[in-house]
């Protein structure tokens, strides 16, 4: 490889000259381009990056940093960046990087919640998340105010923001089996749902917010009645057993139904947020309004076993209220324990009678009906605890006119009004029964028993004596009697001499009677014969008496 074998320079081929194709410095375009791409990525990422927000949840169940998306209407608007605990470890802070386009979600009114699969009585939701994992749902609000700290909802909001429809508020004594998401029915079609509920501030009731979807919200009018459609209404009437429910789902999960009352009513659609009372069932809901409740009190001097709170108060058979309290009291003077029963009555349930009474009261210039009530009490209006059901012994309060009721005091100004009471019919019966039992108990059953026992012993002895001594003799006597009877029978038989003798005797007696008659006839014609004796008979007259003995001597 040295100089030796090398051909001389001139023999070697001459290189051809070519135009230089490409400038070496152009190669730097490659890293420049790469840098440009990288820079563009950075810029893009920076441009895309939206606000970072922090949402606080009770638990991070199902959430995964770097993976869990935030969705609005199923469009991804962000992603969970980091999950950590709050300082007091009671909650979970979820950092979410929103996209640039989702800047409007970092505003005060936005709500966030975790969508997880939920299986409830009312149905199944979020099934897709079973496979894909949970995600954070978002819902916009009205506010434009920037905010980056949010408290996540534990339960998805029932109504998305801006959904057509109206929300109303219902008031009830208790929640029943209702829950968030419970359906709201109108003519058995679901038109809305329960959005939220909370206790009233005084704790004496529950307020529910419901949302009725458009366009069905126009069916909620100012006079609409709402009732709790949970469960099954079983009624036993003259037509037989009747079972009534909104739908099978409401039996389990509860629901609210509404309808307008029958008859003429105001049918202007209700305003947003209107407030209604939630009735317990359809019947009470559709009943005419009860009007103002009045509290009354009654004192009973007897046991009220079977009277329960919510027992009806009836006036002449019309339900006008219900019992709200039953308390035992002590009367020092009488040394007795009266029972004080408190009840709420709705005088408007009396219907036309109430109207007339109130008109009368107004005409007389009385402020309310209490004076009128006093007048009724004078006429014998009394409250009675009556048995409504003989089997269960349940009592109800009946207000009725008792004839010849003893006079009772009534204070029309009393608060609450105290209605005089009368012992119930059943109680009277019980008292009488008790008296009878008392009297029965006074009978000396013991001595009676002893005497009876003695008497029976003696009777026994007597009977033995009778059996041993009297009966054989009696039998002998009977035998004697039988003999006598046999003899008598013989004596009386057709062919007995006695009979024959008797027949002869009778015949002779007959003959004798005939001669007597002849004699009397003769004496009738010839009375003088008694003295003079019989004159000589004409020959015709003789054969008759002569014939008679002839006949008689024949047997």
């Amino acid at each position: 490889m040295t100089d030796n074998p090398t051909p001389s320079r001139d023999e070697l081929p001459e290189p051809v000259v070519q135009r230089r194709r490409f400038n070496a410095s152009l190669i730097w375009l490659v890293p420049a381009l790469a840098a440009l791409v990288g820079l563009s990525l950075v810029v893009h990422g920076w441009m895309q990056a939206g606000p970072n927000i922090t949402i606080t949840f009770q638990t991070a169940e199902g959430l995964e940093a770097g993976k869990t998306p935030v969705k609005y209407k199923n469009v991804v608007i962000g992603k969970v960046n980091r999950i950590d605990l709050t300082r007091d470890r009671s909650k979970v802070r979820v950092r979410v990087a929103l996209e640039k386009s989702a800047e409007s979600f970092a505003t005060a009114g936005t709500r966030y919640w975790v969508v997880r699969p939920r299986i409830g009585l009312g149905g199944v939701s979020g099934v897709d998340t079973l496979l894909s994992g949970a995600f954070i749902g978002a819902d916009t609000g009205d506010s434009q105010e920037y905010r980056n700290e949010f408290t996540g909802l534990e339960i998805p909001p029932a109504v998305p923001h801006g959904a057509p429809g109206k929300s109303f508020s219902l008031h009830s004594d208790d929640l029943g089996s209702l829950d968030i998401g419970s359906p709201v029915y109108f003519r058995r079609i679901q038109v809305g749902r329960v959005v939220s509920y909370q206790l009233d501030k005084d704790g004496k009731g529950v307020s529910l917010q419901i949302f009725v979807d458009g366009p069905n919200d126009r069916f909620v009018t100012t006079s609409t009645r709402f009732w709790n459609a949970s469960g099954v209404d079983v009624s036993l009437g003259a037509n037989g057993l009747k079972l009534n429910t909104q739908s099978l789902a409401t039996v389990l999960a509860g629901g609210v139904a509404f309808q307008d009352p029958r008859g003429p009513h105001d049918s202007t659609p209700a305003a947003e947020g209107a407030s209604y009372k939630l009735f317990g069932d359809q019947v009470t809901a559709m009943a005419p309004p009860d009007g103002e409740p009045h509290y009354i009190r009654m004192r009973f001097e007897q046991s009220l076993r079977g009277l329960v709170v919510d027992a009806p108060v009836e006036f002449l058979g019309i339900n006008i209220g219900r019992v709200v309290s039953i308390n035992l009291d002590y009367d020092d003077k009488k040394q007795r324990f009266p029972v004080t029963v408190g009840a709420v009555v709705y005088p408007q349930r009396l219907g036309r009678a109430y109207d007339k009474l109130s008109e009368l009261a107004k005409a007389r210039g009385e402020p309310d009906l209490s004076i009128m009530l006093g007048r009724l009490i004078e006429h014998g209006l009394r409250a009675q605890a009556r048995t409504g059901n003989l089997l269960t012994g349940q009592l109800y309060i009946a207000m009725d006119f008792i004839p010849n009721a003893p006079k009772a005091d009534f204070d029309p100004a009393g608060k609450p009004l105290e209605i005089p009471t009368a012992p119930g019919s059943f109680d009277k019966l019980q008292e009488q029964m008790a008296e009878i039992v008392d009297k029965l108990q006074k009978i000396p059953f013991d001595s009676i028993g002893r005497n009876l026992d003695q008497t029976l012993g003696e009777l026994n002895r007597t009977l033995k004596q009778v059996n041993g001594e009297v009966l054989p003799e009696f039998r002998n006597t009977l035998k004697g009697a039988q003999q006598t009877l046999g003899t008598a029978d013989q004596a009386l038989s057709n062919d007995s001499p006695l009979q024959q003798n008797l027949g002869d005797t009778l015949k002779q007696l007959q003959r004798m009677a005939r001669s007597l008659r002849v004699l009397t006839d003769y004496l009738g014609v010839h009375p003088e014969a008694l003295i003079r004796g019989r004159p000589a008979d004409p020959p015709q007259a003789r054969p008759a008496p002569a014939q008679a003995p002839k006949q008689g001597s024949k047997p």
Binding site: P15, Q18, R19, A24, A34, G38
Partner: protein
């Protein structure tokens, strides 16, 4: 430095492509009379090109690692993975062997290339005669492992094509893999544009 004369000393020049030895006329625009390719004593602007390509590759290597390369959708469960998170996931889920392979192919090999090429470039620039044989060996190593560094791209391409069970399972490529592929191509170009003879030159000769 060997005592042997160099082609330059003899006024000769060899064609890079067909190997024909020509006279060195000292022109920049000389071309091989046989195959027509340009004639250089050394690869043209070898150091500059290699540097440029290496820097570009390194710039693109950043998004290749930071951006997710693959999306696995399995029963609705969407999972985006970058190279490193994929390696970690493989390791955690009980396939350390696979994790090591992927880690080697996707992280070790490119990094090795960057380092080796940078070392070669720096040493070639300074013209030192330090560890020339080892440097030559390093260069051959880089050339060799260059074949394997597209492993990740192949994996993604294959999975994307094979795993298409719509709802059950689906694999989608994500932008990261493009950057990774570009990085690999650029490093290969860089190692190609490096002239190993520079190692033996003992001084810069990038003409």
């Amino acid at each position: 430095m060997s005592a042997l004369p160099r082609a330059r000393d003899l006024g000769l020049i060899g064609c890079h492509v067909c190997g024909l030895v020509c006279r060195d006329v000292g022109r920049h625009d000389a071309a091989c009379p046989r195959c027509g390719s340009a004639l250089h004593r050394r690869k043209t602007a070898s150091l500059a090109r290699t540097w440029a390509l290496l820097i570009a590759a390194f710039i693109l290597y950043l998004p290749a690692n930071l951006l997710p390369i693959m999306r696995t959708v399995s029963l609705g469960d969407v999972d985006d993975n970058t190279i490193l998170s994929g390696v970690i996931e493989l390791w955690v889920k009980g396939s350390p062997d696979l994790a090591v392979i992927v880690f080697t192919a996707s992280i070790v090999v490119p990094m090795l290339k960057f380092l080796v090429l940078a070392t070669l470039l720096l040493s070639a620039r300074s013209g030192t005669d330090w560890a020339q044989r080892q440097r030559a060996r390093l260069y051959r190593l880089v050339e060799f492992i260059g074949y394997w560094s597209m492993l990740d791209v192949f994996v993604v391409a294959l999975l994307t094509a094979l795993v298409r069970f719509n709802f059950l399972s689906r694999v989608e490529p994500l932008p990261g893999v493009v950057f990774f592929g570009l990085t690999v191509v650029l490093t290969m170009l860089a190692s190609m544009s490096f002239d190993p003879r520079l190692i033996w030159d003992g001084r810069t000769n990038d003409d």
